[in-house]
Amino acid sequence: MEILALLEKGIWFGLAALGFGILFNVPRRTLWVIWVLGAIGGLTKVFLLEGGIGVVLASFAGASFIGVLSIQAAHGKHAPPLVFSIPAVIPMVPGAFAYRMMLGFMNLTGDITSENYNELLHQTVNNGLKTLFILMSLAVGVSIPMLATRKESAKVIKLKK
């Protein structure tokens, strides 16, 4: 049951990725690949979170996985890897943390007693830093295959194999 609940999330991760793919006007033949990549990346993150790994590291792992798979997809579908990887990682963007950080900042500017201040500042900074580090780990994770292979084009990676 637990596993099923997690797998269900995969569907939603995929759909969110697909929506952004449409928004970015990706070629039609790549749509289902984006759905699959989004689901796989999201599930990687969710499973790692379930295993007690921090959200930043889990996002990084999910994004790296998407990055590696997008190279494969690029060969199969003849499109640059970013067409697959960018829509696929967007469901992992830390929207909730960013929202809580913003709410926190807004509350901090309002009237606030000194007892609440520490607690609120602590939460706001925590959420803000999580947002920042998750965003960074997503961007770096996606470009991991390019950095690791030191090639300028995905096409070359294929030729060397």
């Binding site: 969110a16 006007n25 970013l82």
Partner: protein
């Protein structure tokens, strides 16, 4: 000896391709690689200065006898990965099949004219993506429905504002405001179990994913200036989203 294509024609073609890539959301490294690849196919060296809103190119032949320099403004047209993908594919064909300048021009125009997804499809699927976000953050069916409607309205308003050529950040603000006003209603009247989820996720369709990821890609590539510019652009968009949310919170006192 084979007659080389005119350096002016090649130069301005390269500039057009670079500008198309920049407007449709390619990273600086990709633009540089693609341009160099095509220039080499014609037997020229190309050097590029890439900035966020303008592109400068200097093309020379191998003996450095002929030069061509030009500057072109690039307009932000919105992300279009079909064009990025098409140009990438075309650049390999140019190398492999020795395309001529007019052939490339024709193909470039064809790709630019390719239709986008129908507006209804975009609206529906992006709204569905919004609902999926809501589900991922723990919302139930009611919250998903609220997010769907809010995203639909927000995206519609943003598209309309873009058509009327408002400032792009203002368009984001309008979208965020409308979406959060609709989802805010559910928070105000406590519809559903956790209406906060609907409120927080209804604006996520606006997140500047491409600017932020390209920003980091550019920074890692050493294109520090472009990375910073793209990052600030992304932050401005995020700020516009936040302002829209803030306005809704103030209006509803939630």
């Amino acid at each position: 000896m084979e007659q080389k294509d005119d350096i002016k024609e090649v130069g301005s073609l390269l500039l057009d391709i670079g500008a198309a890539l920049m407007s449709s959301g390619a990273s600086s490294g990709r633009i540089r690689i693609t341009i160099n690849r095509i220039a080499e196919a014609f037997g020229y060296n190309a050097d590029l200065l890439i900035t966020h809103r303008a592109l400068m190119i200097s093309v020379s032949d191998e003996d450095q006898n002929e030069f061509f320099s030009s500057l072109k403004r690039t307009s932000p047209h919105g992300v279009n990965f079909t064009l990025v993908s098409g140009i990438s594919k075309m650049s390999w064909k140019i190398v492999d099949q020795k395309w001529t300048v007019s052939q490339i021009r024709k193909d470039l125009e064809r790709m630019k004219a390719l239709p986008h997804y129908p507006r209804m499809v975009v609206l529906l699927l992006v709204s569905l993506a919004g609902a999926s976000f809501c589900r991922l953050f723990g919302g139930g069916l009611t919250e998903m429905l609220v997010t769907f409607v809010a995203t639909f309205a927000g995206l519609f308003i943003r598209q309309e504002a873009l058509k009327k050529e408002f400032n792009p950040y203002l368009c984001v603000f309008f979208g965020s405001l409308v979406a959060s006003l609709i989802s805010g209603l559910s928070v105000k009247y406590q519809i559903g179990q956790t209406p906060e989820h609907a409120f927080a996720t209804s604006v996520l369709f606006l997140i500047p994913g491409v600017p932020l990821i390209n920003s980091f890609t550019d920074l890692m590539d050493g294109n520090i200036m472009n990375g910073i510019v793209r990052g600030i652009n992304g932050l401005m968009i995020a700020f516009a989203i936040a302002l829209g949310l803030l306005a809704s919170i103030m209006i509803y006192h939630i």
